[in-house]
Amino acid sequence: MAHRLLSGMMNYSDASIASTIAPFLSLEGVRKTYPGVVALDGFSMEVRPGEVIGLVGENGAGKSTLMKILGGVTTPDTGTITVDGVAHDGLTVEASIGSGIAFVHQELNLFENLDVAANIFFGREPLRAGPLKLVDRARLRALAAPLLKRVGANFSTDTSVSALSLAQQQMVEIAKALSIEARLVILDEPTSSLPLAETDKLLDVIKALKAEGISVIFISHRLHEVERVADRVVVLRDGMLAGTLPKSAINHDQMVKLMIGRMLKEREKAAESARPPGMVALSAKAIRTNAYPDRPVDLSVRHGEILGLAGLVGSGRTELARVLFGIEKSLGGALQLDGKDLVLGSAADAVANGIFLVPEDRKLTGILLDLSIAQNISLPNLPAHARRSLVSVRAEAATAEKQKSNLGIKSPSVATRTGTLSGGNQQKVVLAKWLAMNPKVMILDEPTRGIDIGAKAEIYGLMRALADAGVAVLMISSDMEEVIGVSDRIAVMHEGQISGILDKEQFSQENVLLLAVGKQPR
């Protein structure tokens, strides 16, 4: 294994030395089209051993497409990929793995019916001797345990993946990437569902990889993370290379400028509240959820405010949101809306009362990918778009057109399938369907997850506009900057309970963190 030898001889943290040696991987004129879009257009880049490349770009810029090509999941229409000096027209998954490329996909790819160890070594199981290809289960566990430790996981190798939270699953994904004797690890938005401490842990893992001479491509919309770890930043715009920033030139404003082609005026922040908060809109009294059946939650959100809900992974925020939206039954406690008791039997009841949820998992629960933009927007309020329970396509299109121009949804028409939109635009469709209906309480669960910086700013603006119009906004977020930058008040959850509520003057990363781990703020 040549690269091991090399890594022993050289110190790759010194980028100037690294740049003199042959690249591990290079792409030349890669082009990839999907129906209706050119996802990548003559893109070229190089990856040298031991280099951490930050890959940034707006939603739909082509980042995931590029990575899928490297992972062998799709093949480019034209262009060459050179790995270790060998040129390919396209890679297969085997070839990709075989040449030491490990890949953490943007969408999780775990098998819920298998345990953690089986998932980590899936497709590369240690075998027992003999022709039967039997799995050596003892060795499998022995191999998996140190990997879990390395990513800082606190669960065991024989836990079933179905019992893990999203973030814990993300850790398994990373452990899986580490398990390949990788020379290049590709992380496609690995932190999008990781908050706070876990993100730090991950960034440490990246640094450790680099120290071992392993290259990393790190894709993220959280630019400060990119700033922290990247040796070089590659910016994609509309499928083309918009520019490359050397380590010294990596800073927030430069990246944004390359990504969207101009400077962003207001830095991804919502405007200050234009009005004093009003009466309590929705309040939860001793609500108990499935995730923490013996931990009652008390929380109230007022008209006209944005209440941020922060907390560590699995602290029970999503579960709470699901109860407030009626998708899940509470195990006890009571809800009040505008001072009146509220019983939610289903999401339909919540919707009827003006309580809306923008869920965490956009593609599975937020929208119907196969329906058009107009059909998605009208879906929760279909009877209003119908005469004698027959749907009026015209009324539907009218509503959709209005929302499309209000929110700036980028698409050829409102009849476009939402599945073909970029993440940010999909998220806007989710918002649009509720905005078309006069919300009273708007719950947003990780509303900017996997969304680019431009779209983020727009969504913050929308939330503020909602609050100013008197809507009670509850925003769950694991992005510290976002919580602090956007909220009027911050509630922090710790193991199923609200551990504290911070007013604007108490806002600080430290305070949020302290509450999140169950300690008192200073």
């Binding site: 089209t33 999907y34 129906p35 209706g36 879009v37 050119v38 257009d41 229409d77 939206f325 998708i327 289903s346 999401a347 339909a348 919540a350 919707v351 009827a352 949820l357 869920p359 599975l364 629960t365 937020g366 929208i367 119907l368 990918l369 196969d370 329906l371 059909q375 879906l379 929760p380 279909l382 009877p383 119908a386 329970s389 027959l390 749907v391 369907k433």
Partner: protein
Amino acid sequence: MSKKDLGLLILILVVGAVVAIINPRFLLPINLANTSNLIGLFGILAIGQAFVIITGGIELSVGSVVALLGVLFIDFIATRGMAWPVALPLILVLGGMIGLAHGWLITRLKLQPFVVTLCGLLIYRGVARFYTADGTAGFAFGQNFPELEFLTAGRSWGVPNSFIALIVIAMVMWVVLHRSVFGRYLYAIGKNEEAAKYSGIRTGRVVMAAYVICGVLTALSAIYFAMYTRSISPASHGQFYELYAIAAAVLGGFSLRGGEGSLIGVILGTVLLQELQNLVNLLGIPSSLNFAVMGGVILIGVLVDQQWGVFRERRRMLEATRKGTAGAAAE
């Protein structure tokens, strides 16, 4: 009418033309009437099945329900002397209740549709056989119900009334499926039930309604079948009818994953299947091959449809690329 439906229609016409050339008696009014009568009976069944398939479900108990309700209907009016205008709605209600039970088990107790309706298939047939002690339910000699017989087995202007019933039901159901709020909900649920739920749709109720519709339509066709055969041996009556209904829907472009298919499609699927059966008999093909012909045609139909889809997708992609390139160049 979608391109898919048009393709199916053309296939039906081409097959019809070929058969008519080989045996011109195919076009005799009596043959067309006989065949359209069966299209009516099976079509009503298939529409019911289609409503369930749209939601991503399946209804395997159809054949057994046809046997059970047929037995009950004949027993009610022929043996127990119930007036048919009472018995008929009663049977429809029973069908609806069976559908409701299935829907309830599927949506509330979260059982899989395949499992629930498979059990239904076994149970209803058993009950039907037990009810008559494995005997045959039929009318006594000379027992007549002129109005009922006219409505179910009679003809108006030479067209079987069962076929007319199908046309009426199809038109109503077309509006329900393709134009109504309920229909939209069905498609949405078939595509992604979870997301539909998060949009505030009471998915449980909608799915249950689909099973109820299927149950009622199955009950109606059970009555038609009973009046067509006028005798029901519960051990074999209606056997495999669920497969005919599913096959018609699949031929008509429905996906068993849900969320796809049109009402015209399922009707055309039924027409093609009945045309094939007619053809086998008319052209003197050994009837042992009947099944094989049916299976072969469904397979080829689905294959062509699928390959055609692949081809179109590819062309669309090519064109899109061209346009995309042109657009980029213009910028």
